[in-house]
Symmetry: C2
Subunit: 331 residues, 2 copies
């Protein structure tokens, strides 16, 4: 019943704002400038008769994750994972309850954590993301993500993804694009669930990366995660991560914050047709409203650059019919 | 005419050794144990009724390049590129003709070069592979590979690829595998031509990697290649490179030297059906014959491990009907 009600709501919302075509691949995008810019770009690069036609193997589309494909408030969801891991590990480390940054992490105290700065964060990431094999870490993440809930909405994290962006990913893939995630988040943190959440396989997930060491222990080959950082896949690290992993310049890029500015700029600076999009969080009622002064997902310089250079800015409140997917009913 | 003659030769060779099926996807592989091990593995993992069935998204196949997909004697072909670049740059550096390692590189003197050791090689790689943008380097490589010829056979390098391995790549892709190169060679050196040579796109090429820096110069965003080394994608570096780029363990791996041992070992140590193959260079007449005592492509420990663990060893002289593709005729 819940599903049926959800579909009815979706249909009504759609009906109110635009004609419903059965063939509309982006039903959660309201008719208007933003949607038109997306679909006209895709039409141009896929039409063999267009002089903007791009061969399929060069249709590379890159997406930021936090704040672009799923929510990022009140803190990046990877921080929720770190807090829970620290809590789980605290039993073995009684000294942590009086030592920063562990103390703040155990209490879920983002402010206290902020006061221990980048060094504190690095310590926590190293503590929770290293000293085990890649396979073990992947198992821990899978277990966590299947049970974790958002601290405010109380929804499973699978329901905190943006429905319109899901449709956009599928629409691009349906038009021969290869879709990638290029996120400041941990590559190993994302890969265990991106295929299920977004239809994006691990080999198309680029993120921040730690060191890895191959060793054979008692005859068993393993990859051990090390605490050092190999790539911070944010800001200027994004074009670097893209080049290392893909080796071609994308023709389509979508982000939501200043950390995505260089990725969008790099995408737009190539020859031929190109698309740069930003998600602007403008909907305090259905999601969160923030930009220039937010600590999480700061959108300031990139917003100015978007306006100056004609990038497509998605106004969440305006452009999106729904934000989150309708929750599936229990079986 | 040349093409027709080539096809006739291929058919006759095939006919002499095995029945010819129009549907045989591996015509350059002689019927026998090696070919059977390959085809029976592929049949098992693609047959939905087999308990060894592997879903398509997990069918990852990795291949070494030098000595596995194309020849590597008398020196790795990337060394030919380095020599030619040094010669081209020497006009701007008159002091090089009396300074090692440049002097040996200019003279194409592999022995002289060997005496300046790893440091000499690193200097030459840094000199020829850095200090320019990724796009510029890619252009230089493309230009070089379209004209370079093998020092002994005098053939274009596109004709120094192994025909049976070309067929194997296509056969695997036809069976839903994603084919990757995992080579000790430079990632940026391979990517400009692997799509044309092997049908493998740049994003499926993993190799040794140098530093990269994103910067905007006079309003133009660029990625500049730096002289530092980020990953030596050889030996234990291969599983690390695979994990970073793909994030899944391959189920099929092919190499030819001790540098591939860890990649094969890592592939075989996963759960479920797995395949490890080695190319053994046994054909002094049609190619080169070398293994344990060769400086290029040393095959010693990996050969012992293959025998001990039942990996598939390809005997080039025995298993391959032809080695190099029949040269295409001029149009």
């Amino acid at each position: 019943m819940k599903v049926v009600a959800g579909i009815l709501i979706l249909l009504c919302l759609n009906f109110a704002s635009a004609p419903v075509w059965a063939s509309d691949a982006l039903p959660s995008w309201r008719e208007g400038k933003t949607k038109q810019e997306i679909t006209s770009f895709v039409r141009r690069v896929t039409d063999r008769r267009s002089h903007d036609f791009v061969p399929q193997n060069e249709r590379i589309a890159v997406f930021d994750n936090d704040g672009t494909l799923w929510a990022e408030q009140p803190v990046y969801f990877q921080a929720l994972f770190v807090f829970e891991r620290i809590r789980a590990m605290a039993a073995q480390h009684p000294e942590w309850k009086d030592t920063e940054p562990y103390k703040s992490a155990i209490g879920g105290d983002a402010k206290g954590l902020a006061s221990s700065g980048e060094k504190g964060l690095t310590t926590l990431i190293a503590t929770t993301h290293a000293g085990m094999t890649s396979d073990e870490f992947s198992g821990i993440v899978k277990q966590w993500i299947s049970t974790a809930r958002h601290p405010q909405t109380k929804k499973p994290l699978a329901e905190m993804v943006y429905q319109p962006m899901q449709e956009l990913l599928a629409y691009l893939r349906g038009n021969g694009f290869k879709t990638y995630i290029v996120s400041g988040g941990g590559q190993d943190f994302m890969r265990p669930w991106t295929e299920e959440f977004y239809g994006i396989p691990p080999e198309q997930v680029i993120g921040s990366q730690g060191g890895l060491k191959y060793e054979v222990v008692s005859g068993v080959p393993m990859l051990v995660k090390l605490p050092d950082v190999v790539l911070i896949d944010d800001h200027a690290g994004k074009p670097v991560g893209i080049q290392r992993a893909i080796g071609r310049r994308p023709i389509f890029a979508f982000g939501n914050s200043d950390g995505d500015r260089e990725m969008l700029e790099w995408t737009m600076a190539g020859a031929g047709p190109r698309f740069a999009g930003l998600v602007h969080h403008t909907d305090a009622k259905r999601e969160w409203s923030y930009d220039r002064h937010s600590k999480v997902g700061t959108l300031d310089k990139a917003l100015d650059q978007a306006k100056a250079q004609g990038w497509t800015v998605t106004d969440m409140a305006q452009d999106w019919v729904v934000i989150f997917p309708v929750a599936p009913s229990a079986p």
